[in-house]
Symmetry: C2
Subunit: 307 residues, 2 copies
């Protein structure tokens, strides 16, 4: 493939940053990759894995002469990062990110971006429950959505170029309003994560059921929650704090529904329960039909493993 | 393998009943299997799939001369079923079940069981989100737990025989107090299912986010909830109504924890969130170490499928 950008700077080399580096290199989409990371440990891992051409000690250094700069750190770091790199950005460069919230990113980063730079926020819906550069892999974005929330007056050429980069590493693109993005993600991602964290934390707190019992009998439903409740704590702390209003709105709605079902259980209203559960089953079918999951029964993902 | 029972009667041929039939036959563990099912459609499917030696129109007929009778219908049907089959049970036979709750089963079935019959409730922690005889498969119970809640004065020989049957089809056995069973399952299964049902139902109700958006972006976390929220509505209605007290207790605790996290989000208490999320990550590690799930990153289970 032909190179889409000459020089790309990746700020932060966790799961997403390192997977981008691997995907861009493998497909020859950029001439040069510079990167940086807060900890020496990560920089050394990136060097060992040969993921970048230049591993810089500071973000200021990493973004110098870059045509595309992508923030791949937890969103809570963006404001300060933008203040530091703003003055160093090349004229005509594009600044983007991979954060899970968009309104707050636009507000915190936007004011530090020089007029000569194209700021196009992005959010690839990709990830696993693992973190750090050693968790990265080049196919992470294949057949995943990447949501872009460009400003109204975005430069069409700059947008096109960023889209072509994401498409070249396998992503499907959708353009979205940032507020709508934050609401949609509160429903499909942020609230589910908080609920999973809550359930797993609760199981840990209940004294009359031991942790070893929880672990042993987790296949009966609980296990499905633990994977997403194992996601990176720093990233998720920042997501909730940065998408506070939408998350709290959805959690409020969730509690309302939960109380209604709880009341049906208490009063023995079986019809209400039956109807509710029949509707949710239909949604699952929709997801399978849309190719977002397989219909294969999942009952442990390790049926041959005898413990 | 040698036969463990001469004649086994399976009442109800859904996912569990049909999987038991297939598992018992494949391993030659019983001489004869009789079965029944409420609907003609299921009985015809069972005949077509050749799962039983005798397919009876009524439970009374199916249990005649059986050495082991297993109730495999939703727990809400147990009381009436027990009243019907009680007088027909053979002296010395064992009556068991596969229900997800145990205290209520003991109460509703117990009083119809003649003194000459051994009543040993059981609960195999196995299943998929599919229902009916066509969803059954002979390896469903391999490396899954089967929890038995026998009465204090159980006949040791009858218990040993039932255990050997479950072990022969691959299950790991644990003996448990019925009330403790119901609490453990409320934590590891019933509350998680209700929470998943709630979240999926909520997503369906929110008008500002379309169902097609929910489906499209479900891979960001929501999808993990939809599988368990696709489980059989009748079965789950009965589970919640039959394990009401423990489920409501755990849901109450859940709401308390959720409110605490919600408050931390509202007040911007990042440290509280970070600490909570770090603890839940450790529980996930426990589950993987116990062989109850694999550490393989799960990011769609259909990475090669382009939609």
């Amino acid at each position: 493939m032909t190179e889409i950008y000459d020089r790309v700077a990746l700020i932060g080399m966790g799961l997403i940053g390192s997977s981008m580096a691997l995907a861009l290199r493998e497909r020859g989409l950029v001439a040069e990759i510079s990167c940086t990371s807060k900890t020496r440990e990560t920089r050394e891992a990136v060097a060992e894995l040969g993921m970048a051409d230049q591993i810089c000690d500071s973000p200021e250094e990493a973004v110098r002469d870059a045509d595309l700069v992508v923030l791949c750190t937890p969103v809570g770091t963006y404001r300060q990062l933008a203040e530091r790199i703003g003055p160093e950005l090349k004229r005509g460069a594009t600044l983007s990110d991979v954060g899970s919230v968009k309104r707050m990113v636009i507000e915190s980063v936007g004011e530090s971006v020089p007029e000569s730079v194209h700021f196009i926020p992005a959010h690839p819906l990709a990830g696993t429950e693992f973190s750090g550069p050693r968790a990265g892999f080049s196919t992470l974005f294949e057949n995943r959505w990447c949501l872009l929330t460009p400003p109204q007056d975005v430069d069409p050429e700059a947008l096109k170029r960023l889209i072509s980069l994401w498409e070249a590493i396998g992503a499907n693109i959708e353009i979205m309003d940032p507020d709508h993005h934050d609401l949609v993600l509160a429903v499909t991602s942020h609230a589910p994560h908080l609920i999973a964290y809550t359930m797993v934390g609760l199981a840990d707190h209940i004294k009359r059921v031991t942790n070893s019992e929880v672990v042993k009998y987790s296949a009966a439903g609980f296990r499905d929650f633990t994977r997403i409740a194992a996601s990176d704590p720093t990233m998720w702390r920042d997501v909730f704090l940065s998408n506070r209003d939408a998350t709290i709105e959805i959690l409020g709605r969730f509690t309302e529904e939960l109380f209604a079902l709880q009341r049906a259980i208490r009063t023995g209203d079986g019809d209400h329960l039956y109807e509710y559960f029949t509707r949710t089953r239909a949604i699952r079918r929709g997801i399978i039909e849309a190719g977002q999951d397989t219909p294969a029964p999942d009952f442990g993902r390790s049926p041959s493993h005898k413990d």
